[in-house]
Symmetry: none
Subunit: 230 residues, 2 copies
Amino acid sequence: MNPNKISFYLRGMLSLTEENYLKAIFHLSPAGNHVSLNELSKALGIKMSTVTAMMKKLSQKGLLEYATYKPVNLTEQGRIEAALVIRRHRLTEMFLVEVMEFSWDQVHEIAEQMEHIRSSVFFDKMDTILGHPSTDPHGSPIPDKDGKIKKRKEKMLSECKEGDEVKISSVRQGSDEFLRFLSQRKLHLGLALTVKKIEPFDGSMRISIPGRRQEFLSRDVCEKLMVAFS
Amino acid sequence: MNPNKISFYLRGMLSLTEENYLKAIFHLSPAGNHVSLNELSKALGIKMSTVTAMMKKLSQKGLLEYATYKPVNLTEQGRIEAALVIRRHRLTEMFLVEVMEFSWDQVHEIAEQMEHIRSSVFFDKMDTILGHPSTDPHGSPIPDKDGKIKKRKEKMLSECKEGDEVKISSVRQGSDEFLRFLSQRKLHLGLALTVKKIEPFDGSMRISIPGRRQEFLSRDVCEKLMVAFS
DNA sequence: TAAAAAAGTTAGACTAATCTAACAATTATA
DNA sequence: TATAATTGTTAGATTAGTCTAACTTTTTTA
């Protein structure tokens, strides 16, 4: 066997591809609900037939529960493995932003590759350098070394009611375009805001931010911004 | 195609595996001489039949020159590609040591994986942070962005000190007799060796060569062997 | 509820990278 | 130089991950 490949299969015996499937399932249902193969297929950009085959394999390995014509869900072990991939991804993003001074819209692609690096010392070192951060640059929680994730009580901004005082805690669906928009409007993580008015006909919001004029956000934006009560 | 894989084939269209072959050939003959498939097979830990197949493929891609039963050598393009892999490897090693404070013996394995990351900004950033270093932590030169490598000054083996890890880079005064001696002792160009002990009274050396027993070389021999830091 | 649409499965094929085993060419050596 | 050892090649098989195409099951909808 290629010695370069050996290291790829030591920890947990998961291939890069398998890790990506687990991660995708986790992201499609962070709460641990069942995920349809169709969703998964679309999320990964891989044909359903291939996904079916992989589900059998991962089920065989005890990482998820699968029965024909049924949606899948991760086993405890599968969730842990997925969470560890996400841990590496988010630690990397944090490292890229905090230590290497990348902007937060540049880091995803790189982290996508680095998350598969086989070296626990490497990620441990990042963790230490960063002072054991609890979230990544987008505000998403970083799972701990056992794959446990602290639940944050956050919700979509669109679920808030008038008068709520909240802080932007994370961003759902962080496409480059959206991140650029946020940056342009100076809507950064941790920003405190108050919901002033919700337009009933289109769900858009008028919000106030200390030191600024009131601003409007479309329902679309409100559904992508996650907030927590401060 | 798997979108995760797409990014793997953008730059230069080389797979991780192909990059590893090019790198290995380069390391076996930094000076650009021919490399036998047997050497390559051993260096990579891959069976000769597989190596033969890959040589055809890389030759097809214009990265090396290959004819059946003949040793190979890299084309200009092949050398550049190899040098760029090595650039990424060495920049990474330097970064791991200088910025992340790893010790020099921990970094190789990690760099081995990071060198294949597809992101020029990532390595550019490392380069900037490190202040455009010219060598890695082991003293090996870092190729520039065009794959050009500064010629290293070689010196007589006799000028080395204990602990130096060098490669035989050339031979001074190549009398037939001396060349025969070298061949008999299997001291060929490119051979990596470590200076273990220098006898103060006669300048003879005890050296170690991977995979062999320690050997002794007289001062005479040490003055005729030119070496470079690998 | 029957027909249509969507989701899921199976079979068969392909590619990259590997292997083993048999054979061929080259090089070293007795 | 004949023979042995080493090096290199070819053919055929394997594995992981992917695909297309035909088919089946489940879900939606008219």
